[in-house]
């Protein structure tokens, strides 16, 4: 069996409040707060992108793993905002982390599910003993179109997980993936902003896949919601993951720790992975954890994890998610935000 030997997350320091965006477009901030349960989101700086976020998260994961980076035999980054359409993000991150040159690298993509995909494959590779350690990263700096509902949630951040077979921080008990051809959200080649199907993104997309995968893994493992200490689901907004959790029988207490979206926003491929990191920051030995991601198009990856006694011993080696969320941060005006997100047309 394989499991997580190191984990880390990174959230950029810049933030913008929902109110500030609402004010810009003449929307009522109360409606946003009530409807989406979003307070503020992270904003990548001018020199931050999926690669820099992955490096920061990867470094933290290496600290907690305490391993020689050259032992990492595979490195995968899942994102829907890889800086290049053609040129892997993974190679840059690998070099920056001191990983390689003997390493398998691939970039993954599947809307918001790309992070857990990278984790799934990394885990599988380690289980098969083809490599000793493998890193799976989910990170994004996604865009929301100006004056669209997504502008309140699309944010930046990511988390990295190193899988191995010994000295585990958390065991991977089981996995389950559920996929169907459901076009709820997409971006054609060349378009700057994605498009979505409005309310179609809810019940037929998010809920169908998150609930199906979660129910299936509970069935497969013979576990019930009450057996878990923590659960985290993909967080496109504040409401959906809480509704999904409730439907599956989880209580608020089980969902709170991983529910980082109201302060962080939706970091797409980094969303549920960062929620998982926030859970690993506090979980105790033998705690059961459920994580189910969701990627539009559509699919969900579920993992059941069990924390080990090693976790509390090694996690202090790197910053916690809450420390980054609540720590030093800088609030931007809409103008600064638009500048950083390249929404302002400038002559080149």
């Amino acid at each position: 069996m394989a499991g997580i030997v190191g984990y880390g997350a990174f959230i950029p320091r810049n933030r913008i409040k929902s109110e500030e965006i609402a004010r810009q477009w003449g929307k009522d901030p109360d409606t946003i707060r009530r409807g989406l349960l979003l307070e503020e989101k992270s904003v990548p700086g001018i020199d931050e992108d999926t690669i820099t976020i992955s490096v920061a998260a990867g470094r933290a994961a290496l600290e907690r793993a305490g391993i020689d980076p050259t032992k990492i035999g595979a490195l995968y980054i899942g994102s829907e905002s890889h800086p290049y359409a053609v040129k892997p993000s993974g190679t840059v991150v690998a070099e920056a982390l001191g990983v390689g040159p003997e390493v398998h690298v691939a970039d993954f993509e599947f809307a918001c599910k790309a992070g857990t995909e990278a984790m799934f494959v990394a885990c599988g590779l380690v289980e098969s003993k083809r490599v000793e350690y493998a890193m799976g990263i989910g990170a994004d700096t996604s865009q929301g179109a100006a004056n669209d509902a997504l502008e309140f949630s699309a944010s930046a951040g990511g988390a990295a997980f190193i899988f191995g077979r010994k000295n585990l921080l958390a065991d991977v008990v089981d996995t389950y993936s559920y996929t169907s051809d459901t076009p709820d959200f997409w971006r054609r080649e060349g378009e700057f902003y994605p498009r979505h199907g409005g309310r179609f993104t809810g019940e037929p997309a998010y809920f169908n896949h998150v609930l199906s995968a979660s129910r299936a893994i509970l069935d497969k493992t013979g576990l019930k919601a009450s057996d878990f200490r923590y659960a985290v689901f993909h967080m496109p907004n504040g409401k959906f993951p809480l509704a999904a959790g409730k439907k599956l029988g989880f209580k608020k207490k089980q969902l709170e720790q991983g529910w980082v979206v109201n302060k962080m926003g939706n970091t797409y491929s980094g969303s549920s992975p960062t929620g998982l990191a926030a859970i690993l920051d506090v979980a105790e030995a033998d705690d059961l954890i459920l994580i189910t991601s969701f990627g539009s198009g559509a699919g969900s990856d579920s993992f059941v994890l069990k924390a080990t006694a090693e976790l509390p011993k090694r996690r202090a080696r790197a910053p916690t998610v809450r420390a980054m969320l609540d720590g030093r941060r800088r609030y931007l005006t809409y103008g600064e935000y638009a500048k950083y997100r390249e929404k302002i047309i400038v002559n080149t």
Binding site: D28, D30, T31, R34, G35, G198, R199, F200, E203, P204
Partner: protein, 382 residues
């Protein structure tokens, strides 16, 4: 003209029906009606639908639906009058049978609104394009202006508007086919997001998919199909000025008044004879205005009428026992037929928890746009 009766009905659930397409919805409702009557053929089909073209790119609905129902060959046509399409389809069916031209006619309404279209823009095509929509108005805005006019002229309050929503949700919670099967409180309504002042989210009917169908036959043959037919006693239709700005009084729905008058006349009844009614509450203010235009109460009294419980289940004239458009849902083309079905069930004693005791005369009022078209049917227990 011959006497006409409804002998069977069929209806899908109303709501966001992601798994059902426009044609699926129609067939489900139509089959329920045909199976209910054990009818094996039809002489004509009238399909009420506002905007298959703009919502899902499909026009020419009549042959499509007949074909999909397995009835290619039957004479069929689509009827359109914006949100009154369903009621107008029923009227066409009524006239077809009353005239003696047909014996077995299906009046159906269907709308598929949840398929990616810009619903607000599509619905706005029911307003005057040149003088209203061109300047940016949408339907919540038009009804908001009607509400303002009513509030200024008669002192109607936001709480009066909320009372309509609370009542209709209370009724809808008893309707297994309603889109929203839950009650709402006055506080919830008053705190819901503002859509177009003074109309809030919970003053507005939702976006829905759904279909409804009834089988209309000559009364003399009704017992072939059911022990409890319901006679269509009267039918009246009218138009009003298209643009709100051209109305004599924006707070008064003259098309509703005219259409009701014609229906009452044909039926030989007065408003006081009514036991139950389904009215077009696309926005809460609409129910208040319709209550007045139907001459159930005097001009300006619509607000206090709702608040007093007069039009609640258990009151003097229960209105929208189905939950109305607000709680049951409003798949535009289907609404008019669904209203008729609620009255059909009430008069047959089949309305379950929503049953109005001993109902024998009922009315259904269906309206298009901001009141530019209206059709009223009056039904009688046989």
């Amino acid at each position: 003209m011959r006497e006409v009766a409804i002998v069977a009905a069929g209806m899908t659930r109303f709501g966001e029906l992601w798994q059902l397409s426009l044609r699926d919805l129609f067939v489900e409702a139509a089959m329920e009606a045909l199976d209910g009557a054990k009818a094996d053929h039809l002489d004509a089909i009238y399909v009420g639908n506002m905007s298959g073209g703009q919502f899902v790119g499909q026009e020419h609905l009549a042959p499509l639906m007949a074909d999909h129902l397995g009835m290619a060959g039957v004479a069929a046509t689509r009827v359109e009058s914006a949100c009154a399409s369903g009621g107008m389809a029923l009227r066409q069916a009524f006239l077809d049978v009353a005239s003696g031209a047909s014996d077995m006619v299906l009046a159906a309404g269907v709308e598929k609104m949840n398929d990616g279209a810009d619903v607000t823009a599509v619905l706005a095509s029911a307003a005057d394009q040149e003088t209203e929509a061109y300047h940016g108005i949408t339907f919540p805005g038009l009804y908001a202006m009607i509400a303002r006019a009513h509030m200024e002229e008669f002192g109607t309050t936001e709480e009066d508007l909320a009372a309509v929503s609370v009542k209709n949700h209370k009724h809808g919670a008893l309707n297994p086919k309603a889109q929203f099967g839950r009650e709402v409180t006055t506080e919830e309504v008053m705190n819901s997001s503002m859509v177009a002042a003074p109309l809030r989210l919970l003053h507005c009917s939702p976006v829905s998919d759904g279909a409804a169908a009834v089988l209309v036959v000559p009364l003399e043959r009704a017992k072939e199909f059911t022990d409890r037919p319901v006679r269509i006693l009267g039918s009246g239709a009218a138009t009003g000025s298209m643009a709100l700005a051209d109305r004599q009084d924006p707070a008064f729905l003259d098309a509703v008044s005219l259409s009701a008058g014609r229906a009452y006349k044909m039926a030989g009844i007065r408003p006081g004879d009514l036991n139950v009614a389904e009215v077009h509450d696309c926005f809460s203010i609409a129910e208040i205005c319709v209550t007045e235009a139907l001459c159930v109460v005097d001009r300006g009294k619509g607000g206090e009428t709702v608040r007093s419980g007069y039009t609640s289940l258990g009151g003097k004239l229960p209105m929208n026992t189905s939950g109305g458009l607000k709680s049951k849902g409003h798949p535009v083309g289907a609404t008019g037929v669904a209203q008729a079905i609620e009255i059909f069930e009430q008069l047959r004693g089949e309305a379950g928890d929503r049953q109005v005791k001993d109902a024998h005369i009922g009315l259904a009022q269906n309206m298009g746009g901001s009141g530019a078209s209206s059709v009223v049917h009056i039904f009688q227990r046989v």
